[in-house]
């Protein structure tokens, strides 16, 4: 009897153990992510300025937020930046991965070169980029010195074009990482499928378009998640490269939020902008997560 009881205990223990192991991290996430999100939502309805305060103000912060011109600029910029950044990174990443997969000599050397920008913080690479893009001292000046007098590249000083220089630097930073994801995807494709297709006389181009690229769907999705998360969080990049200028031409929601919460002492408006940002993220991510997770059942 005693033995049976202890076996029973052990089985029950074994059943509970996985949940016990998972519980601490789940609790941490509930508190530090969802608790804080709830707190931010609450703050967005209060009169908080320098520190959190709890005077209820209703929708005032939201109505103010949408009357601030810089917020429009920030939203528009994020739309331009995120879509270009995601599309260009994906195209470049995919192209480099396909090219690198052609039995390239020196792949071992090229791969870390493509990947390393991800390892650097923008606190100072930002300065290097700023110089490089600056017409007075960077690429434009160098081209002039080399004799190409008519060369012009002053986007960073032009308030209509400056946002595109941010795209360039951001693509520089993460396209190599995307390349690695696609390369992994390519190398994971089953040889048999390709052999069969080639037997059927598919051309190289058809092979990629009809078979390989569709097979990379999981890699596309992972790249999309990582890139969209990086795009929305871009802060260091903008601060280091343009500081949000010329004027406010390159403000994005992340810089807006920081500025209102911490520099301008309008924490309520900062929280409101954070809530809008979170809702945008949720609108994109929740359907994706739903589709991904349901499929696995």
């Amino acid at each position: 009897m005693a033995r049976a009881a202890s076996v029973d205990m052990r089985t029950r223990m074994q059943e509970l153990l996985p949940k016990i192991v998972l519980a601490p991290s789940f609790a941490l996430v509930l508190l530090f992510v969802y608790g804080f999100i709830a707190f931010t939502i609450y703050l967005s309805f209060t009169d908080s300025r320098m520190l959190p305060s709890y005077g209820w103000e209703g929708w005032t912060n939201y109505s103010k937020l949408f009357r601030i011109r810089e917020w429009d600029t920030a939203i528009t910029n994020l739309a331009i930046f995120a879509s270009l950044y995601i599309v260009i990174c994906t195209i470049i990443g995919l192209m480099l991965a396909i090219f690198l997969d052609q039995k390239i000599r020196g792949e071992g050397l090229l791969r870390p070169i493509f990947l390393y920008p991800m390892a650097l913080s923008f606190i100072v690479t930002g300065t290097a980029w700023k110089w490089f893009l600056d017409p007075g001292i960077g690429i434009e000046n160098t081209m002039h010195l080399w004799g190409w007098e008519s060369f012009e590249f002053g986007w960073i000083k032009d308030r209509n074009m400056a946002i595109y220089t941010i795209v360039i630097a951001a693509v520089w930073q993460s396209s190599g990482f995307v390349m690695a994801m696609f390369l992994a995807g390519l190398r994971g494709i089953d040889n048999e499928i390709l052999k069969a297709a080639q037997m059927d006389g598919a051309s190289n181009w058809q092979l990629y378009r009809r078979i390989i690229i569709p097979l990379l769907r999981p890699a596309f999705l992972s790249a999309f998640v990582i890139l969209s998360h990086l795009a929305i969080k871009s802060y260091d990049l903008v601060i280091a490269l343009t500081g949000g200028g010329p004027g406010n031409a390159t403000a994005v929601p992340a810089t807006f939020m920081y500025s209102y919460t911490f520099t301008r002492n309008q924490m309520g408006i900062g929280a409101a902008s954070a809530v809008i940002m979170l809702m945008t993220i949720a609108a994109i991510m929740v359907p994706y997560l739903y589709a991904e997770l349901r499929e696995k059942k």
């Binding site: 789940f26 791969r111 650097l120 290097a128 992994a184």
Partner: protein, 293 residues
């Protein structure tokens, strides 16, 4: 190892291959350029930088900026260089990465091999945590660190990084273990192996590739973080990025760009090293799991 490459190498032809190599080289140049600018200017005396072409090679080569950035540059009141902060960063990154990777591995194991009702919702909730903008975390996090009495310490910073690293770590391991044959786990169970035994003996030994991916990702993110480092551990416990920022963003006074660039490269060395050494396993690790969905 896609077959397309093998069998089509001939048919793509010489023109095609030249094009492929040219494109790859061109992109390599594009990726290297900013690093080149940083490196070249870190080896020049300051006068050459402010007076001249930023892309030109140094006329007077000097390593003085590197020595200065490492041991004598002004970070605060004392001219300590980046040296002491380097160790702060190590003391923060190593425990954070180790703890976070372990938690991620166990979570991934539970979520794939010991499934229970609602496990996908739990996972979905954890995954969404990757997307929280860090700016909104600062104030409430400061309060909690204060209550735990670990504000302003490396321990507090480790806790913060662990919390916000769990999402990605769990994602990586979950996707990796999902592809691991569940039959092996069941068989071991029938043989009487317990929860932890199965993990240590069966899953862990084959987790090398995904661990590389997870460690690289966490290491880079935590090492390069500035916002949390500045807010929760400034002063003596400040990590490297905070010190680098003090070096680079001083408000008034002469800006020693050569020292800044040398400092930036020094601050990035550990992550660069991780990428170069582990880069080969990185693609292999990604291939083994996380992008296979």
């Amino acid at each position: 190892m896609s077959v397309a490459s093998q069998d089509n190498a001939a048919s793509v032809g010489r023109v095609g291959r030249t094009f492929v190599y040219l494109t790859l080289l061109l992109f390599a140049l594009f990726y290297l350029l900013p690093f080149f600018i940083m490196l070249v200017n870190s080896l020049k005396p300051l006068g050459e930088i402010t007076g001249g072409n930023m892309i030109a090679l140094p006329q007077d080569w000097t390593i003085a900026p590197w020595l200065s950035a490492w041991s004598t540059a002004q970070i605060g009141v004392e001219p300590t260089g980046l040296k002491p902060y380097f160790w702060n960063s190590i003391r923060m990154v190593v425990p954070a990465v180790v703890i976070c990777t372990m938690i991620g591995a166990l979570n991934g194991y539970v979520l794939t091999k010991w499934r229970f009702r609602g496990d996908t919702i739990v996972f979905g909730l954890m995954l969404f945590s990757c997307f929280i903008p860090f700016q909104i975390v600062l104030i409430p996090m400061a309060r909690i660190l204060g209550i735990l009495e670990i504000s302003g310490t490396t321990a507090g910073l480790v806790l913060v990084h662990v919390v916000y690293g769990i999402g990605f770590a769990t994602l990586y391991y979950r996707n990796y273990y999902a592809a691991f044959p569940t039959e092996l786990v069941r068989a071991a169970q029938i043989d009487g192996a317990g929860f932890f035994q199965i993990f240590y003996r069966i899953l862990l030994p084959s987790s090398g590739p995904i661990t590389v991916v997870c460690v690289i990702w966490l290491f880079t993110n935590i090492w390069n973080d500035f916002l949390f480092g500045a807010s929760f551990a400034s002063g003596d416990a400040a990590p490297m990025t905070v010190a680098l920022n003090n070096l680079v963003n001083s408000s008034t006074g002469v800006r020693e760009y050569n020292v800044h660039f040398a400092g930036a490269i020094l601050a990035a060395l550990p992550t660069l090293l991780v990428y170069i050494v582990a880069g080969r396993f990185f693609v292999r690790g990604l291939m083994a799991g996380s992008v296979k969905g």
